[in-house]
């Protein structure tokens, strides 16, 4: 009996891809993340939402070492990566990230942006990587832009290239940090569609977004963060219809309010 329970536990642990244990992050005097723990299973899509400055982006950035944590542990594939000196460059090949402002390299063409990582970091054959890059660019509808420079692309196109640049490293998990926040409204869709497709393909993703409809559609689990703490986490169905906490309810209400004023303006 005990054996089988252990086995079940073991199985559950095995499917955990990335785990944050009691993460604490301080900025000067203020505490941005206060004892945040989260498990991301293989194939799971978790969407982090919460008011501006609640720490959700910071949490994402801690996961691939762009921010240093004061205490806590990050476990990737069952290995504690925050102990001793972390080899972040090799961790980051497994944890891909897409930023709010795309951050393509302005001096490189679309294709060169995409293949830089695999060629220089993973030491893969340039020809083979180029072929793969072209395939991925075709998938996001940007193959004809492969020789263009970032400045010649729209925001939505840049963001799709940025996604391809992260994908080509074959990461185990993808982090999306408010990837549509800097986009014109009509370009949001083309980017979110790509992410929805990735979710359908079974990619493990951790997404920070303000697009509630998108969150509802893409997430397996919604995690609501406020004041540097996880306030509530639930399935999107439950979270959006019957939030458990008052804070989550108030937060969701702000979006309804925004919708109404938006309607009036139209």
């Amino acid at each position: 009996m005990e054996d089988s329970i252990d086995e079940v536990n073991h199985m559950a642990e095995q499917s955990i891809l990335l785990e944050a244990k009691n993460i604490v992050k301080d900025y000067g005097q203020g505490r941005v993340l206060d004892d945040v723990s989260l498990q991301i299973h293989k194939g799971e899509v978790i969407v982090l939402i919460g008011p501006s400055g609640c720490g959700k982006s910071t949490f994402l950035r801690c996961m691939n070492g762009l921010e240093q944590i004061q205490s806590g542990q990050i476990v990737l594939d069952g290995e504690v990566i925050t102990e001793g000196k972390t080899d972040w460059p090799s961790v980051r090949q497994k944890i891909g990230m897409v930023f709010q402002n795309y951050e393509l390299f302005p001096h490189k063409t679309v294709l060169d942006n995409v293949i830089l990582g695999p060629v220089k970091v993973q030491g893969r054959d340039k020809k083979e990587v180029t072929k793969e890059a072209e395939k991925l660019l075709e998938r996001v509808g940007l193959l004809e832009k492969k020789d263009a420079f970032p400045r010649q692309l729209s925001g939505g196109q840049k963001q799709r290239v940025a996604i391809v640049r992260a994908l080509i490293l074959k990461p185990e998990i993808l982090l999306f940090d408010e990837v549509t926040a800097a986009l014109d409204p009509e370009m949001v869709r083309e980017v979110l569609d790509v992410i929805l497709e990735l979710a359908a393909e079974g990619y493990t993703m951790l997404i920070v977004t303000h697009e509630m409809q998108f969150a509802k559609a893409v997430a397996d689990k919604i995690v609501f963060i406020d004041g540097g703490k996880i306030v509530e986490s639930d399935t999107p169905e439950k979270f959006f219809t019957q939030p458990k906490t008052d804070r989550a309810r108030r937060f969701l209400n702000t979006f309804i309010y925004e919708k109404e004023t938006g309607g009036e303006k139209l």
């Binding site: 691939n64 070492g65 762009l66 972040w88 460059p89 090799s90 980051r92 090949q93 891909g96 990230m97 930023f99 402002n101 951050e103 393509l104 390299f105 302005p106 001096h107 830089l116 990582g117 220089k120 970091v121 993973q122 400045r151 940025a162 640049r165 992260a166 490293l169």
Partner: protein
């Protein structure tokens, strides 16, 4: 016409000698600029390091080089090293050393400015695809700052060409020294040669620096729109 000082220019191989002197001037400048760019990039990178000791050391270096007149530096290297340590450097080598020290300080400061003008996110997105710190500099940051630095480096080259006239004082026979020799040699026969020879030098400097300035301006325009 016979009495005009300009005829000195065409006596013997005087004009060729002036051009030879100009070449030495330009050679010193070019070597010093090339070295300054390399060392300047390294110094600029060091200056953005947050370590207070590195910061203080680079700052002291920068201020020291900037405050010292180049002539003092030249004397220090050319005479000082020889007398105190028995290191015997030729005038030209001393000049290259001093101008490289100076150029490195100038370039270092420019590189530092260019480096901090690159948004933090460029470093981060480079890191996010698994590049090491060094790779981020090599493939992402330095290529971007080079475009901004080229006009500044060219500007520095013209300033160096002008300042190299100082090396005459440590015995390097560059264009100005050649001019003095020619004038001295003809002091009695052609007393007004000074005006003509120095006038020629005026144009030599002009035609050496002007095209460089033009190129700088064009590059600046080209990369501004980029």
């Amino acid at each position: 016409m016979q009495n005009l000082g300009i005829r000195v220019l065409f006596m013997g191989n005087n004009f060729a000698r002036l051009l030879g002197g100009l070449w030495i001037t330009i050679r010193i400048s070019l070597i010093a600029v090339a070295l300054s760019i390399v060392f300047g990039i390294l110094l600029g990178m060091l200056m953005t390091v947050k370590n207070p000791i590195t910061k203080a050391l680079t700052k002291i270096y920068l201020e020291f080089i900037r405050i010292m007149p180049q002539l003092v530096l030249l004397f220090l290297v050319f005479f000082g090293l020889t007398k105190s340590f028995g290191i015997n450097l030729s005038g030209e080598v001393s000049a290259v050393i001093v101008f490289t020290l100076w150029g490195t300080a100038e370039m270092g400061d420019l590189v530092r400015g260019a480096l901090i003008s690159i948004p933090k996110h460029q470093y981060e997105s480079g890191a996010a695809i698994g590049l090491t710190k060094w790779q981020v500099y090599c493939y992402i940051i330095i290529p971007q700052i080079l475009a901004r630095l080229v006009p500044l480096a060219i500007n520095l080259t013209t300033r160096m060409i002008k300042t190299t006239s100082l090396v005459a004082l440590i015995g390097v026979v560059e264009v100005l020294k050649v001019a003095q020799q020619i004038i001295e040699a003809n002091r009695y026969t052609v007393p007004d040669s000074a005006l003509w020879i120095y006038g020629t030098i005026f144009f030599l400097y002009f035609f050496a620096c002007w095209p460089i300035s033009l190129v700088a301006k064009r590059l600046e325009k080209k990369w501004k729109t980029a």
